[in-house]
């Protein structure tokens, strides 16, 4: 089982490393955006799937990172590398405030609070167009002086892998265990010695950092920012990626991001109807496979492998 996991991981990493040599610039762009969504989806999976905080503010937190980084570079002239890091911490700071304000909110109340926050932030970005460019867009300096999509590809791939390693460490540590205990039952967790307040806020801070990181990269890659990145359908897309991939699986969330991003591109001819297709897929997943579509396939694969292994022994 461990060997199979390692084999799959090595195969995926090798494929990811070689991908830029096998596709044109357009598809490379699609994959870079898929990595951006994979980072958003996996960090939201950590927040909602593991810690049980069903927030709708994740896209807005990515925008905090994106706008902070962009405005810092434009107004102070610092390197985007530093501004992206500062933007990630800014998002984590906003996550801290949201986490604190949402301490006593659960389920639909938390969802409504975070939707309200996202909408307020979107409207502020629109209203303050003198600084943010509003709907006309904010022109953002590139991350690299040299125009090279491959450079961006490996950068976001590196960021994604590093982030996934950190998130994996978190979910397999005592922190991850406490996140899940809080998700399951806050009172019961507290009576077993878990500081619920601390871990709920930590979940927001950590995942907001990753959202801000994704947003910062996105800003300097796409090079134009509009408040549309916070629109509710964007958040819906991230949720669909995680639910279809498997809400309690970082790998599933990454796979879900890829499937939906690639499917959206293949189905581009169907225009708005493709979102209907995704909606239906989401409904079917929720109804028949609450662990997502990837996990059951993986489980079947590993079971088959275990069986073959046992027979050969």
């Amino acid at each position: 089982m461990k060997n199979l996991n390692r084999l799959i991981l090595m195969g995926l990493l090798s494929a990811a490393a070689l991908l830029p040599f096998a596709m044109d610039g357009y598809w490379l762009h699609i994959i870079i955006i898929a990595y951006y969504y994979a980072l958003l989806a996996s960090s939201w999976c950590l927040l909602a799937g593991y810690a049980g905080q069903f927030s709708f503010a994740h896209a807005a937190l990515a925008a905090v990172g994106a706008y902070t980084s962009a405005l810092l570079v434009l107004n102070t002239g610092i390197s985007p590398v530093y501004s992206i890091i500062i933007g990630s911490f800014a998002a984590a700071g906003v996550g801290l405030v949201i986490g604190f304000l949402c301490l006593r909110l659960q389920g639909p109340y938390l969802a409504l609070f975070t939707i309200a926050y996202s909408e307020i932030f979107r409207i502020v970005l629109n209203a303050e167009y003198r600084y943010t460019g509003g709907n006309f867009g904010l022109n953002v300096p590139p991350l690299f002086a040299r125009e090279s999509r491959i450079l961006y590809y490996y950068t976001i791939l590196g960021i994604l892998i590093l982030s996934l390693v950190v998130m994996h460490k978190i979910v397999t540590s005592r922190l991850g265990l406490f996140f899940r205990a809080v998700r399951e039952d806050e009172d019961a967790a507290a009576t077993l010695g878990v500081n619920v307040v601390k871990y709920k806020i930590l979940a927001f801070v950590i995942t907001s950092f990753f959202a801000g990181l994704a947003g910062g990269f996105y800003a300097h890659y796409v090079r134009i920012l509009t408040p549309n990145i916070i629109q509710l359908p964007q958040m819906g897309l991230i949720i669909a990626m995680v639910v279809i991939g498997g809400i309690e699986s970082l790998a599933g969330a990454v796979a879900g991001a890829f499937i939906l991003q690639l499917a959206a591109e293949y189905l581009r001819d169907y225009e708005e109807l493709r979102w209907v297709f995704f909606g239906l897929l989401l409904v079917i997943t929720l109804r028949f496979s609450q662990n997502g579509l990837i996990y059951p396939i993986y489980k079947r694969l590993t079971k088959k492998n275990e069986k073959t292994h046992a027979e050969s022994e």
Binding site: R174, L177, F178, R180, A181, R183, E184, D185, D187, A188, A189, A190, T191, L192, G193, V194, N195, V196, V197, E248
Partner: protein, 240 residues
Amino acid sequence: MKKHMLKVSRVTKRFGGLTALENVSFRVAENELLGVIGPNGSGKTTLINLINGIHKPDNGDIIFRDMPIHRLSSYKIAQKGIGRTFQVTRVFRRMSVMENMMVPALSISKSGTQEALLPKALEILALLKIVHLKDEYGRSLSGGQHKLLELGRVLMLDPDLILLDEPFAGVHPELKADLHDHIRKLHDRGKTFILISHDMHSIFSLSQRLMVLSSGEKIAHGTPEEIRKNEEVIEAYLGN
């Protein structure tokens, strides 16, 4: 004379217009097994919720080992050595039995790893006769097994005072006998208990002392024999 571990003084708790507990005082000695009985709605569970910090009292003090705990958070009270089970079990359903056991163990052991705590968890699960279920999810266990798992989780905290809220409710008679056995053994090992139960046979046979609540007030306390003969208790709760 044994030292008092817990002192509850003139505790009152109101929920809106409803007074759940009024001016209740009592003490629990080290290694005592105190039973709390009373009709439904008499304030028994509220009392446990106050001791372990889920609710805060409107008036009164709760002192545990000479330290006021009535304003502390639940998790701090747990870390100070008070563990509890719930009337309606609250196991972590989407976590395995072993993961359920690890939560309290890691919360009190700041530097301990899961590997280091594994033998202790296995020992407790073996004691409770559910070690074979260690990899099962909480949701796949029966009601009785939930009760055992809750007790197991509490033991991983290694508390000095254990609050048991209706541990025998809905439990198979065979399992009930096992639970009696576990409680007695733990008591023999020095643990202190406050036990709430409607199961008269169990609570009268296990408790050294009983306290009776009715409509949020303490109406009697004494040995099981004294309580059995108490006119007010017979009228309010026990009947004939």
